[in-house]
Symmetry: T
Subunit: 152 residues, 12 copies
């Protein structure tokens, strides 16, 4: 899966993350989604991974993308944003992909409203990283890299 | 509603059911959505019913389809998948259709995670069928057929 | 189990179901228990199953009957009525029979009082059918028939 | 129902009430079940009511008796003892009788363990009387007498 | 306490009971508070009890009246209306009177909204009577009469 | 924002509100969405506000529209329908718009099912109006008008 | 009810609202109760309604006033302040008035302490308005005006 | 109580325990009820106790037996099986016997379903023993033997 | 506030505290309210504080008194008795006074019924003192004295 | 206990209280533990009490110290800090000392996180004092002094 | 593990058990910890087991001891006292020892405060014994002896 | 803090982590604590950080160490193991250090028992990392490094 000998990873960003850098910077910081994706690509390159980035405000498109990742990708980094706490169908789509994944949140959700303290993804995830800012995506790639093991 | 003298029924399948037969076959079995729809059509034919099948991963499309069924269809068989447990808007769309419906789940949801034990549809449904596999759709049609009564 | 080459199924009806057709017909319909049992026998005959019907208002007799079914029957259709929601000992008796079973309710219990929304049987059942009226018993037989597989 | 022109009332006593006067007299007093039934008969006589008294430690027998009361009796006084708090099937049997009834407890259940503070009968009852001792049965008869209205 | 040889009982009616007979007669019946008090006086007379009746819409006046009853009365019949479910201070005033009391509700509160299913008085009461209509007050007097024992 | 000297307000209607006037008129009344929008425009005109109306059954489209309103509009009137009770991502999109808003419900949600008694928007809203029918939208505009203060 | 041809409305303000404009202006604003009442009278005049304003810190006086409104007034605007969340007796008094009413809160109670998120009045109200400031009273009058229909 | 100088103990086994050794041996082990009773008798003999063993699937028979034990026996060993968690009437019957008792469970109920983690007997018991297998009955006898004290 | 150079403190006692020394002395001790007030005055004198004492059984009068204390007093000692646990309006009146206050309970409320374990005042109080008997009032004065700081 | 004629009291400070004056002074003030102990000794001296002060961050050492106090001391002032809310073993050690004690918290714990609102000590304490700052220890000594009664 | 051919068992006693016989004898009896350990040794000797006894009031020492038992002992009898209900780290230490263990409580914890009704050890234990007094330790040894099987 | 120009970080490991690599390797992996510390030191060296590692099974020692870190260290990486879920005093000690910290768990605690799903540290942490194995410590150092900013 991925380039000749490079595994391909999907980095999925959920609703409102297109507003990163614009929306409530006191909470979410000043990095834009474009910045996040550049950082992700750079770190993936260092790790010898191919990477696709996808963001949508539409739950259905996120599900379609997860279905398509099955068989073409080797792992997922998922920041499901507010859907983390409410969407059984996104959980089911992640499970349907049958891919290992890391759950990432830019902010420390445990400092925020109580409805952000539960996740419908965490018990399926390989790892969960919250509050590490955009660096959390890089950590997610590293965890997957470990999991995929050495490559020729 | 339906052909000259045949009531038309809508069979609605929610998110991730397009992955049937592929996704976690130990849980969902090896029948594909195509198989389900073939079975539904066959059973509908035997019962003298016309049938439309619709699946989407997009909640909004499911709602649009339910709105359109009002006045053109005579009943619904609904497998809302993970939306069953979370979607008030889908519930409202089913109610807005003002059609009798049967709630169907392929698996026995009561054996699974606690968040699958509540349904926002059940108290509005005519009947609820869980764990009968793809045969549950056929049962749904039979319940509607009974309800629609004898036809000329 | 059952006739020379016919599996035998036990259809168990719990407390108050002897009042079917008499008791609150607006809720439970006008079919009597005798009607239910006739329907069950007819459908079993079509499916090539032998069937025994047993109803009791005494939890202890239901348990004794379940114990006796072990080794002589191949499956159960169980409408435990109000015991569904309260009886651990009936649950244990069903488990002790080590037989596959379908849980049936004539009415849609999800439309009724909250104490009818929990079941001590559902997580052990093959399938759960509620609100399909007396036809629910026939569905139960069909599910068992599927499960028992083709017979010579 | 009842004598030529006298309505017949069933007074039903649940499990352990045969131990009245013997069991924990500090809680239940020194009147025996026989004393209670004598008091009930005397008060019924004064009110122009016929009365049957039945006690059982067997839930199933209580249910059978309630079923039999339908069509032969005009009302019920029910002290379901510990079944009050746990038995959906007894509740259903009382409802199946389609008779007005008064729920009676000898002791003030609200002073006792929390599990005695809920009743599966109260929302169906005409009246609920707790803590009036054996006199509570007489009050139950009077409430039914009122309800049955004047008799020739 | 009371007349030369007659115990005096206080019958306390809480907020809104002045509207009896006027307010929502489908729920509360057509007897007025004046009717209730007449019935109470008649029954007290038969039992050899003196009786005072007091109604107020002001919690503070009910408390003042309970304080004054200490040392002048021998028992209470209390229908605290909606204060039953919310007023710790009324509970404390009843306790401060150090008098035995019967809690009475005209309607069967268990058939009504959930917030009417809890009482801050019941665990202190001698007896609790609900749903017996205005006759409940008479029952309350009889329970107190029993408790006070034979008089010269 | 808005015309030369007129602030522009976005009136957002969520899923199923396209069915207004058609769907369950006993609950939602006979005004159509078109009627609502005409009323909104008329009232906005009187108040010196420009107004855009948007309705969708797709959560993702509502989110996209909220993002676009940031920087072009001065306030929101939001009837999120069933999403009110379930959608964290819609809440986040409203917050991301950084606009003051009024939450409106045509019906009095407090009279309806318990799951309609919680809102994920209310603690962020300027005001909450429920049960005032389509007039609630006009009230929403007036609250925003107040908030925006006098205009040249 | 009211002047020769003008309906009369009662505007009821509960405890502490006499402190408006003085008490915690950051929360409640700088309008005094007198300002509120002037606004109410002005808006009532425009709508062709007669209006009475009453405020008390005494629950009992509020109840007495509600009782008196029955038969003399045509509707209520009720800001029960802190009693909203705790007083069953006020709820019962509002119900006893058998008048349509609008529940108004000056502040958005949903932004405040959790105990302000429940109301014992809302499920009986015609409409509920929170956070619209003193303008909420005017909205309440408009809702009643609509409800009372055109007048000669 | 018991033989000339030997106290008599009743060992009570509840529903489904007749299936011991047969039913789910992975959970309950391979000892039959007959084995248990032989072990009980042997250990009782060693301790100088007389012993009666009774098992029933009928709650009512268990209650009748407990009532009869009052005055004839000196203590109880009770394995109420699934009734442990649900039966208030069995609890009341144990209390009505006014005998000291030890609650025994063959399996460690704390490892099993949550509904097996509560007991209606434990707060009345002398001791509670779970997970010691059939040896738990012997422990129960020893605890009673201690309690009964030295015998001549 | 207070005498020329002495701050004035209001000591507020809620419902039933007029019964101190009379009511349930085993719980509340033998000091009367008069004793409490004498102790308060003596300690205030020592501390150089003026003091007013007020007790009422009427919530409304307590609220009126709190409103009047704003601008004339410098602090409050509040024993709201049973209103502590239930009265949002008293809480709001204390807040409306904008005065620092100490919450005092004569008894250790944590040893008593669960409904006495919550307080609607504690999160606003400077300090909370329970179980120190009448001495708790003196402690309350000392805390306020500290808070008011040195005086000329 | 204590000097020839002076009772000895143990003042116990739990984990992190060694950081007083250093740790988060906005919450805990600027007094150090040394200051607290000096204040305690001064006040004890005035009251005619001997006093020992002990602080530890180790739960085990606190327990050992409590055990040693049995038989040598006459009462305890306990600020268990965060162990208050979580430590059953500390509660048991306090009970094992069989000494009267006052629970003291420097801050008003009711203003802080919800997990600080429950105490495993309060229902055993003589008195509970929170939010009175370091002066709370002095109050604790005074309560014990009262309890110990006059000394020769 | 243990002597040449004798398995070695560790009996671990948690905080406050050093006070046995001294502390609250009405609850815990008059046996001292020394008595318990003597009984344990005697019974171990009879069973052919070596035994080590360890008690500490320090959670950390209990954990260290459990770690050391891994590889040197064959089983554990654990009375964790109050830590049973609160200590995840003790649970983890018991699990880390990878030894079978029996949970013992001298008293019947189910008769005591609600916080003693949950255990963080029970679902990992072989057996749980409560209320059998010091004899419970002997039962614990017997269960382990059974589990270890016959020895040469 | 730290070497001449290198910040010093404390890596704190809680109870049972000394068993890493030995204890339940299927859950915790095969790395020993020594391996973890080597990895931590290596990564710290790369980042230009000085690092101290401390592990203890004694809560009190962890608290002492945290107190000592105040003023000498610049940040913390904390794996509090089972204390994460139960220890208010550890939380308070972390807060008392007034240092930024990252919470690390080797395993994905969200996949494990429910009592591991709550943390008393998370709302104070900079970031929370679970399930990344021993690599989680390195991530923790990187987050702190970011936070400390560039160094000369």
């Amino acid at each position: 899966m991925g380039g000749p000998d490079r595994p391909r990873v999907l980095v999925l960003n959920g609703p409102n993350l297109n507003m990163l850098g614009t929306r409530e910077p006191a909470i979410y910081g000043t990095h834009t989604l474009r910045d996040v994706e550049a950082l992700v690509r750079a770190r993936a390159h260092e790790l010898g991974l191919d990477v696709d980035c996808f963001q949508s405000n539409h739950e259905g498109e996120l599900i379609d993308t997860l279905h398509a990742a099955r068989g073409t990708h080797a792992g997922l980094v998922v920041n499901a944003a507010g859907l983390t706490h409410t969407s059984v169908v996104l959980r089911d789509a992640v499970a349907a992909s049958e891919l290992p994944f890391v759950e990432v949140h830019i902010t420390n959700v445990h400092k925020r409203e109580p409805f952000r303290h539960t996740s419908l993804l965490s018990d399926l995830a390989q790892a969960v990283i919250a509050g590490a800012g955009v660096r959390g995506y890089a950590f997610g790639l590293e965890v997957l890299d470990d999991l995929l093991g050495p490559r020729p």
